[in-house]
């Protein structure tokens, strides 16, 4: 058995010849060693001590879990592998800027001939980091101030605060995140926020002030999240010319809801995956913990990817959702689903599909949308191996429908209603991958099945976002 010492700042007094294993070298086959050292490869070793140097405010008990595996290594390759894994775990806590691993033979009175000392040299993140940006867009300028306190209390808690002061709207958010020590995937997050949004497709302005608490934990292969949210919503007309249906929704309401979501993600990347699938199911029940809004909302997202011949990928996705009002109050425009635009059914204007009144789109209580894509590398592969790999061409087929359902009629009637007057579109375009989070698209779209009242954007359409159909 080994012991863990967490020491501050002093380097190891008895540092033997620097074996200095850097993380990138861990997979390297040979190790330099001095002639006096014994060859330890493939010989059984015992990890006697694991040190962590460079701790300031981080509490030791948090790190014990992350490095516990290293003690179980049996030979040198195993030690290197497990140290690499422990390094990854330490980094994902989000509290260290840098982690380096040093593996050395044991020294000291109780040193075994095949004993090893492993040292993690860590650099903690600063106690508080701030950022200040100005943003201009959408006829509004704003100043955004951000503050982040990583590792606020020593056990990888994270506190973030963001404040945005604009010419038209002000918004802020404060969030506190705490993982369970030893089990980073289990965590709690508390948020307080005020956000404002303007939705020109509905001539609607919405201000939400709310608090929420979220609990995440993994169960077998899935990731589950339970959340309670209390929101004070204020709706208003964006312009004097808003339709009367939108004007009727103006005012204040309180939503207090419990929601649960389950995610299984086996894709190799969330943007332009080459294989794997995604299943996301989310449900929300509002009204049983107080508040004015009372509904049950279900929605799901499925995506499957498969690599075909010649480096091309076939991707199929399906989205759907249902909003069931509970009681006799009608649903609010802020809870309904919207469809259309460069991120869902391409070829139609942003969220400009489905029920509408005088040009303002009111959203619907039930929807489905499906997409079939074929991604290929750029023709003639310019810039291969570098910049060109960020681009893909894609051929797509999107279809979907959004409507209001009369819940007295029964499921057969609903399916029939969702199946008639389907909107669909096809086309091709270029996709640019931005980091690991977002993508840009430039498509040529041909919308079909357009119903009266829908607004289309046929021809060239540009889209940017995180979640695409």
């Amino acid at each position: 058995m080994g012991t863990v010492h967490a020491r501050s700042l002093d380097p190891l007094p008895m540092r033997g010849p620097e074996l200095g294993v850097q993380p990138d070298d861990i997979e390297a086959p040979g190790i330099e060693h001095e002639p006096k050292q014994e060859v330890l490869e493939n010989k059984d070793v015992v990890v006697q001590r694991v040190h962590i140097d460079g701790l300031g405010r981080t509490k030791e008990d948090l790190l014990t879990y992350e490095i516990a595996e290293v003690f179980r290594a049996k030979n040198l390759i195993d030690v290197m592998r497990k140290s690499h894994e422990a390094r990854r775990k330490l980094l994902r806590l989000g509290i260290f800027r840098k982690v380096e691993v040093v593996i050395d033979t044991s020294r000291g009175e109780d040193a075994l001939p095949n004993g090893l000392d492993v040292t993690f040299e860590v650099t903690e993140l600063r106690r508080m980091t701030g950022s200040y940006n100005t943003m201009v867009g959408n006829n509004e300028g704003s100043m955004v101030l951000g503050l982040k306190l990583p590792n606020a209390l020593g056990r990888a808690e994270k506190m973030t605060f963001q404040f945005s002061y604009g010419t038209k709207e002000t918004s802020y958010g404060l969030s506190f995140f705490k993982p369970q020590p030893g089990n980073f995937e289990r965590n709690i997050s508390l948020n307080v926020y005020k956000v404002t949004g303007q939705f020109p497709w509905s001539s609607l302005r919405e201000t939400d002030r709310g608090i929420s608490g979220e609990l995440s934990f993994p169960v077998w292969k899935t990731n589950q999240t339970l959340k309670w949210e209390g929101v004070w919503r204020e709706l208003g007309c964006l312009a004097r010319t808003a339709s009367f249906a939108v004007r009727e929704e103006s005012g204040h309401s309180l939503k207090s809801s419990l929601s649960h979501s389950m995610v299984i993600d086996t894709r190799n990347s969330s943007i332009l995956p080459r294989k794997g699938g995604l299943l996301k199911i989310h449900q929300e029940l509002a009204g049983y913990t107080g508040g004015d809004a009372s509904f049950l909302k279900e929605d799901f997202e499925i995506q499957l990817n498969k690599t075909l011949f010649w480096d091309s990928v076939l991707s199929a996705s399906l989205w759907g959702g249902l909003l069931l009002p509970i009681g006799d109050k009608p649903t609010s425009i802020a809870d309904r689903f919207y469809l259309g635009g460069p991120t869902s059914i391409r070829g139609f204007s942003m969220y400009s599909l489905g029920p509408q009144s005088e040009g303002d789109y009111l959203g619907g209580e039930g929807y489905w949308a499906g997409g079939l894509h074929l991604y290929t590398p750029l023709p003639f592969r310019p810039g291969k191996g570098g910049f060109g790999d960020l681009f893909r061409t894609h051929f797509f087929l999107n279809a979907g429908n959004l409507c209001n359902l009369n819940y007295g009629e029964g499921p057969k009637a609903h399916l029939k209603k969702l199946a008639e007057s389907i909107r669909w579109s096809y086309g091709l375009g270029i996709v640019l991958r931005l980091g690991n989070i977002a993508r840009l698209e430039l498509n040529y779209c041909i919308p079909m099945g357009v119903q009266s009242g829908d607004r289309i954007c046929d021809g060239v359409q540009f889209g940017a976002g995180i979640r695409f159909l």
């Binding site: 004070w232 007309c237 004097r240 103006s250 005012g251 309180l254 107080g290």
Partner: protein, 259 residues
């Protein structure tokens, strides 16, 4: 509204006749509406009845937020939305219905002056009594105003409205007044109205005008609304010609209406 906007609205409005489906929106009658809003709404209803224009009254909990200016009542005619008595009078005039056409310039100026008096005195006194007088605010105004909402939103909205009205009272100089002084002001206003009315049936002799509708709306509501004390109603009852004026208008224009 700016001059250009007014002219534009008049052009648009004049094009169509008054439809059957015109609606007037106000807060919920039983549980939510307050004295000042009820008075304004009744004034508009009386005016439209005097013009012979049919309108349906619809109660909505969020009527105040639906209104383009934030004030009650507002009417939805065709696809136009107009709020408050002044703009509504303009709007109906553009459609060719007016009650004050027979007046000459002097009388019209007098009518405007009295309407200003009612708005500055009676309406402000109603707001003061509702929101600045603590017993009334706690027992009547806040519970009624917040009745459609659930806790804690109800408390937030009620207090927000109270602070807003108190700030406005301070801004116009009524913040320092006592309840007695407000009652005195109401009495003086009623005295001026009573003197102008004299023994005539309406303020401008034979025909009712928007001034009659406005005065009726406020006085009738004060007489028939339960407050923490009956002092306000008593002050008005001391002017008998105003009482018979209210009764006359009620019988002539509202006897078929179901309250």
């Amino acid at each position: 509204m700016s001059l250009a906007a007014e002219a534009f609205v008049s052009q648009m409005a004049a094009a169509e006749p008054w439809p059957e489906s015109a609606t007037l929106y106000q807060p919920l009658k039983e549980d939510q509406i307050l004295l000042s809003d009820c008075a304004s709404s009744l004034a508009v209803q009386a005016y439209l009845r005097m013009c012979g224009l049919p309108v349906q009254v619809v109660c909505r909990a969020n009527a105040e937020y639906m209104s383009p200016s934030g004030k009650i009542p507002f009417i939805h005619v065709g696809n136009q939305v107009v709020s408050e008595l002044g703009p509504i009078v303009q709007f109906t005039k553009a459609k060719g219905h007016s009650l004050s056409e027979g007046l000459d310039d002097v009388q019209r100026a007098e009518m405007k002056a009295y309407m200003e008096l009612v708005n500055n005195m009676l309406l402000t006194a109603e707001l003061y009594i509702q929101w600045c007088d603590d017993p009334t605010a706690a027992e009547i105004s806040r519970p009624r105003y917040s009745s459609p909402y659930s806790w804690p939103l109800s408390n937030i909205l009620a207090y927000q409205k109270q602070w807003e009205v108190r700030r406005k009272m301070n801004a116009i100089g009524w913040g320092g007044k006592t309840l007695e002084q407000v009652y005195e002001d109401v009495s003086q206003c009623c005295q001026a109205l009573s003197q102008r009315l004299g023994t005539q049936p309406y303020f401008f002799n034979k025909q009712p005008t928007e001034l009659d509708a406005l005065v009726f709306g406020h006085l009738f509501t004060i007489l028939t609304t339960r407050l923490t004390s009956t002092e306000l109603a008593e002050r008005i009852k001391s002017y008998s010609n105003l009482l018979s004026f209210c009764r006359r208008i009620e019988q002539t224009y509202f006897e078929n209406k179901s309250s």
